[in-house]
Symmetry: C2
Subunit: 364 residues, 2 copies
């Protein structure tokens, strides 16, 4: 270790010392007037890996501007209910919201591609499509109709298939099963005979425990454990076919966005990028710990969905997505961009990350 101690004594001088002398002590943002914005979240505080991303954005923004640009974060329901976050941005009630835009597929199914669609892109692919495949531009154009400027600001990664009170073996086991699962995935399950129920987060555990529902999808090991779902159902089907990646977004009111000088716009962009990286790392780290605990200490049986069921879910999903695209030229434009990018990237993933997953990890 002596070697390291010796190295520590090396001089720092030269250009670096000159740089140190050249910087004024006061912070960069000192001349900026204070700016106070409000952000409404679609998530309750209890969903800390989701709600927390907005808090983390706000903190980051304050740090980047010497506390001059302050964004106050409101949980779902404090200003407007979680599912009205976009409306609040659109009509200028708040300057920004943090949400998952697939909540708004009832307004337009195009919103789904912004957050993620079943059997869609992984988190990494979604980032690449957004950054390099034209995804962000397409979403900007689309959301201009809502006075909205969206920025990817978080990602949960692939979610889990859900909790079931009984083991699933064949497609027949789905018939008549009462399951809590929202969105397009629910519509797909319904076509396989599932009796789909919509319940807010707080009602899932009691309904599952009392047998009012037989199964429930929520997020992943960490958040699901917080709801106690493992105490009401022991089978965790892990295949996240319905949410291979879920982007959460910061959406800014267009007029508010346009009012920012270019450097503050860059700062908002950078804060979103940083939050996305942090939120995904956080989800991954907390899910790792929670999964281990659930399997080792809580008697949870975790397994992928049976292939027969998964194959059928995929067929119905593909058909549903194609039907949506056929009905509307804008949906088709986004759908084709997303799926075209996926097709190329899947080939690349199969021999790069995919080889790592299948061959390096377990099979040798």
């Amino acid at each position: 270790m002596q070697r390291r101690k010796f190295l520590r004594t090396a001089a720092a001088g030269g250009a670096a010392a000159a740089a140190a002398a050249g910087v004024a002590a006061p912070a960069i943002a000192q001349s900026m007037p204070e700016l106070k914005w409000r952000l409404t979240s679609s998530f309750p505080k209890s969903l800390d890996t989701l709600y927390g991303a907005a808090e983390s954005f706000s903190k980051k923004l304050a740090g980047l501007t010497d506390n001059k640009f302050q964004v106050r974060v409101f949980a779902a329901g404090e200003i407007v209910p979680g599912l009205q976050a976009l409306d609040a941005v659109q009509n200028g009630t708040v300057e920004m919201c943090h949400t998952a835009s697939y909540y708004f597929v009832g307004k337009d199914v195009t919103f789904g591609f912004d957050a993620g669609v079943p059997f869609g892109l992984t988190a990494r692919q979604q980032n690449a499509w957004m950054q390099q495949g034209g995804g962000i531009q397409l979403m900007r154009e689309f959301m201009a109709d809502y006075n909205a400027v969206p920025f990817p600001a978080g990602n949960t990664g692939v979610q889990m298939g859900g909790w079931f009170r009984k083991e699933l073996k064949t497609l027949d086991d789905l018939k008549g099963l009462k399951m809590r699962i929202p969105g397009l995935a629910g519509r797909v399950y319904a076509q396989l005979g599932v009796d789909v129920k919509l319940l807010p987060a707080g009602e899932i555990f009691p309904a599952l425990e009392r047998g009012v529902i037989d199964a429930a999808e929520f997020v992943g090991p960490y958040q699901d454990r917080r709801l106690g779902l493992h105490k009401a159902a022991k089978y965790l089907y892990t295949t996240g076919w319905h949410e291979s990646s879920t982007v959460t977004e910061l959406i800014v009111n267009k007029a508010a966005w346009d009012s920012l000088p270019p450097d503050l716009q860059e700062i908002v962009r950078a804060a979103c990028g940083a939050c996305q990286a942090i939120s995904q790392a956080w989800c991954d780290a907390t899910n790792t710990e929670a999964l281990e605990d659930l399997i080792t200490n809580q008697g949870v049986k975790a397994a992928p969905l049976p292939v027969e069921i998964l194959a059928k879910l995929r067929d119905v999903t593909v058909q549903t997505l194609n039907d949506n695209a056929a009905k509307d030229p804008l949906v088709k434009k986004v759908h084709d961009s997303y799926m075209g990018f996926k097709k190329g990237w899947d080939k690349w993933a199969a021999i790069s990350e995919g080889v790592y997953h299948s061959q390096i990890r377990g099979q040798i």
Copy 2:
């Protein structure tokens, strides 16, 4: 589409309009004195997905500070040779460098964990370990001995196993094979009888073409195609056992870093985070296109390494890493943190992203 046109007319008023009125037109950074720093890259300009990340950092930083914080990027060799980038930061010749820190394993094998080690973490795992698993703190402590403050600022993702003039079938095919592959991976191959050669990027193609070497590892489809490697060898072994993730980093001289006010430090951090996301998306998108072209139009045969070879490479790698850790308490501390995090995350990955790769993508 009429619906969308209608929505466009909704008013933006309320808080957003107030916000617009409240922001002064001049930019946030107007009172800041100009700051001009120099950055030396370990990469030549021809490696655009690597060298380009530093350009992208510099541009991002200028945008975040209304052009007041200017970082001039120098390619490898313009100020110091690529492999002396860290020395130049340590002795204050420049304020920062952009590099892959495994270039410095000759100084200390601990540097390897910062960039990636064979059979190590994927890009996503590496981010999670850095952000949430204590990786960044460990690297900061370690590099303090070099007057260096490191920030992850890019990632190539998993790299390719390399180009071979002849097909590989068994371990015997490695004996006496002349291969260009640097670093720890080269030392592992050497133990399997490979005659390891060290050649700079510009010399790889002519050596491979003339048969001076039989095989060469470089980066991935996009960068390798730029060197023309596919014209000299037709077998591309895709298993990236040696570089499952390669982080490139911005490393700042400690005195220069300490001279920055907290908001400028946050801005540097945010610019690095943004560059990391952008560089990975860029590598993924360009590799996707290049791989398709190489296979479809250039007659390249792409396949994973035979399992017999891969298994032996892994055994030797694990032994080598363990030996390194046993020799030095600091290496052991970092090694144990890295591998401990990997062990937990691998379990999580196997049922989350891993299921997606193996089951959703190809096998149903």
